[in-house]
Amino acid sequence: MIPLVYYLELSVLVFGIGLYGVLTTRNGIKVLMGIELMLNAANINFVAFSRYLADASGQVFATFIITLAAAEAAVGLALFLAIYRARGTVDVGELQSMRW
């Protein structure tokens, strides 16, 4: 079997890419994409552990996360649509009305 750590390393890399995306991009939809990637990285971890520890609860968690991620994506995208209608942009850098 492939050592567990390979999966973990892959997961860290995907998570890192996702995090990098969340932190650097100014496009709100892309931010959401980054978040999805991070969640996927977590999923990889869960599933890998569940396989290696022979414990099904990891898969259960992953199921939950997928559900959650879908809901979150729906709500987040709806929000961005609403913001776009109100402000004409989805650039998070310009959404400053709550600043200070």
Binding site: L23, T24, V92, W100
Partner: protein, 619 residues
């Protein structure tokens, strides 16, 4: 009636309240209300005086006013208060009657009679008080009325300014008076006159810890400070001439006959508290005041200011007399002065009423037009100048005798003053009443009977009160003192001759210069230009005080205000501004971008991890 003496100030007080509250209902009749109540008080006063003449003195213990020891306000009727009661209520009564005519038709007549009733009530309260604090309260109320009455025609800027000046200058004296009260209360624990006098000897030697003075010296000097303010003594005399901005009746009543006597009265009342050291100060202040005021009276051209300066001079005389131990002499002069000075003022008021001018140079030859005014004024001037047989002579003579026995310098000052007094008052008289008629005098006519009748009564008093001397006035009045004052030596006959001579000389000088015009007064003015300028400018004391008030005090307060705004408030606002500045920098961290916050979280987590790892590695 001794027991009912407390009624005396109460009647005018009721009059005050009635006029204040209901006066608008009977506008022109306010005067009669005031006079009616004053008549009641006059009757009680006279009955009280009769009681005292009959040898009864005393008073009532009164009521407790502040619940601490020594604040029982009652009455104290002795020879001194009887004397004052007589002078104040009688002169007050006459001036009230005179006011009916003088103030007729003035729109502020309700206010006038209300204020003057309050004044007479406080003045009467002042003289019968048995407690130093109550005296002070009346003293202040009297000052308040003086303030309001000087500023009676308050729309005139000069009147408003004179009222302010009077209040503030006397307030300086009042401050000293109040401090005197504090000192006395701190050591004696009471302010009741009798108790103070009883225990005074105990404290004659006790040091007060201030400038090495004994308690009594300190307290008496502070009390005298009050007297200096109220009785317009040097150096606080500057308010009195300006006070002539008020109605002439006010000048006569308050600034000649009664209130300005309060200072002298206070010294007489607290006589047992004075020590030799403080007497010396009192005498010299009195002497200086008498002299410089007489000099100023010589050069003034305002009909009322001449009399005002002569009042200051006379008050200086009284103070001088008290200072050298001439208790009876000073009070005798106080009594006679009340009459002839009120007379002079009312005569001046009558002349102003006739001529509608205040400048004596615009008058002249009024004797024919206003005979009653003129001749009564002559009586007053005669009495003031101190020639026999009018009252001024007898009382002034007593003072001169007392001074001659004590101090040659003071005696010389008193003599010069006597000469100057005779000169300036006859200069005043001759310029107004004799000589050629001026344009304004030509239209003058005699004043109504309400004004001339009081003049006549006052003239009678001014003429004959001096003879009280032969009815044992002096022996009678000194009974007010707890112990006999030291006997006064002095060469009676010599002083008497000298004083007659000096007064005659003074009148003669005035006659030559101002009636005959044999020598022009211009001559003196020209040859003594610097001196004349100096005196006409009142020794530049007003300038000095104004500079002190406007430059030093106002400047200092302006600085304080700036300090308050810039430093004290500035620090507070500065702290606020500092926080704003700091937050302006700090708030840049709060970009509002979730990514920045997430980066910060990531950074923090990384640092934490690195630290933990390092710890592990190092351990």
């Amino acid at each position: 009636m001794l027991e009912y003496a407390w009624l005396i100030p109460l009647f005018p007080l009721v009059a005050f309240a009635v006029i204040l509250l209901f006066g608008h209902r009977f506008k022109e009749q306010c005067g009669y209300v005031a006079i009616a109540f004053l008549t009641l008080s006059l009757v009680v006063s006279l009955l009280t005086v009769v009681d005292v003449l009959g040898g009864r003195t005393g008073g009532s213990p009164g009521i407790s006013w502040i619940n601490a020891e020594g604040f029982r306000f009652g009455t104290m009727i002795d020879q001194l208060s009887a004397l004052m009661l007589f002078a104040v209520s009688l002169v007050g009564f006459l001036i009230f009657i005179y006011s009916l005519g003088y103030m007729h038709g003035d729109e502020g007549i309700q206010r006038y009679f209300a204020e003057i009733s309050l004044f007479i009530a406080s003045m009467l309260g002042l003289v019968i008080s048995n407690n130093l604090l109550f005296t002070f309260i009346c003293w202040e109320l009297v000052g308040l009325c003086s303030y309001l009455l000087i500023g009676f025609w308050y729309s005139k800027p000069s009147a408003a300014s004179a009222a302010k000046k009077a209040f503030l200058v006397t307030r300086v004296g009042d401050m000293a008076f109040l401090l005197g009260i504090f000192v006395l209360y701190a050591y004696f624990g009471t302010l009741d006159y009798n108790e103070l006098f009883e225990r005074a000897p105990e404290f004659a030697k006790v040091g007060s810890g201030i400038l090495g003075m004994s308690v009594l010296t300190l307290a008496s000097l502070l009390l005298f400070g009050g007297a200096v303010g109220k009785s317009a003594q040097f150096p606080l005399h500057v308010w009195l001439p300006d006070a002539m901005e008020g109605p002439t009746t006010v000048s006569a009543l308050i600034h000649a006959a009664t209130m300005v006597k309060a200072g002298v009265f206070l010294v007489a009342r607290t006589y047992p508290l004075f020590t030799p050291a403080s007497f010396l100060v009192v005498a010299y202040i009195g002497g200086i005041t008498a002299l410089i005021a007489a000099l100023m009276a010589l050069v003034m051209v305002d009909i009322k200011r001449v009399v005002a300066y002569s009042t200051i001079s006379s008050l200086g005389y009284m103070t001088l007399a008290l200072g050298v131990g001439g208790y009876a002499a000073g009070l005798f002069y106080l009594l006679t002065h009340s009459f002839f000075k009120a007379l002079l003022f009312l005569a001046a008021g009558s002349a102003i009423h006739g001529v509608h001018s205040m400048d004596i140079r615009e008058m002249g030859g009024l004797l024919k037009k206003m005979p009653i005014t003129g001749y009564t004024a002559l009586v007053g001037a005669w009495a003031l100048s101190g020639l026999p047989p009018l009252s001024g002579f007898w009382s002034k003579d007593e003072i001169l005798v007392a001074v001659s026995a004590r101090d040659p310098v003071l005696f010389a000052m008193a003599m010069v003053t006597a000469f100057l007094t005779a000169t300036f008052i006859f200069r005043w008289f001759f310029t107004i009443f004799t000589g050629e008629e001026s344009e304004r005098s030509a239209h003058a006519h005699e004043s109504p009977a309400t004004m001339t009748a009081p003049l006549v009564v006052l003239a009678i008093g001014a003429a004959f009160l001096g003879f009280l001397k032969f009815f044992g006035f002096e022996e009678w009045i000194v009974r007010a003192l707890p112990e006999e004052p030291m006997a006064i030596g002095g060469d009676h006959a010599m002083v008497m001759q000298l004083s007659i001579l000096i007064a005659a000389l003074g009148i003669a000088t005035a006659y030559i210069i101002y009636n005959r015009k044999a020598v022009s007064s211009e001559l003196f003015v020209r040859n003594l230009r610097p001196l004349h300028t100096f005196i006409v400018n009142k020794y530049y004391m007003d300038h000095l005080y104004i500079a002190l008030a406007e430059r030093v005090v106002a400047g200092f307060s302006y600085l304080m205000e700036r300090f308050d705004m810039l430093v004290v408030d500035g620090i507070v606002n500065g702290v606020g501004r500092l926080f704003i500045k700091v937050s302006e920098v700090v708030r840049r961290v709060q970009t509002g971008l979730v990514q920045d916050y997430a980066s910060a979280v990531l950074l923090g987590a990384s640092i934490l991890l690195i630290i933990l790892k390092l710890k592990e590695v190092l351990a």
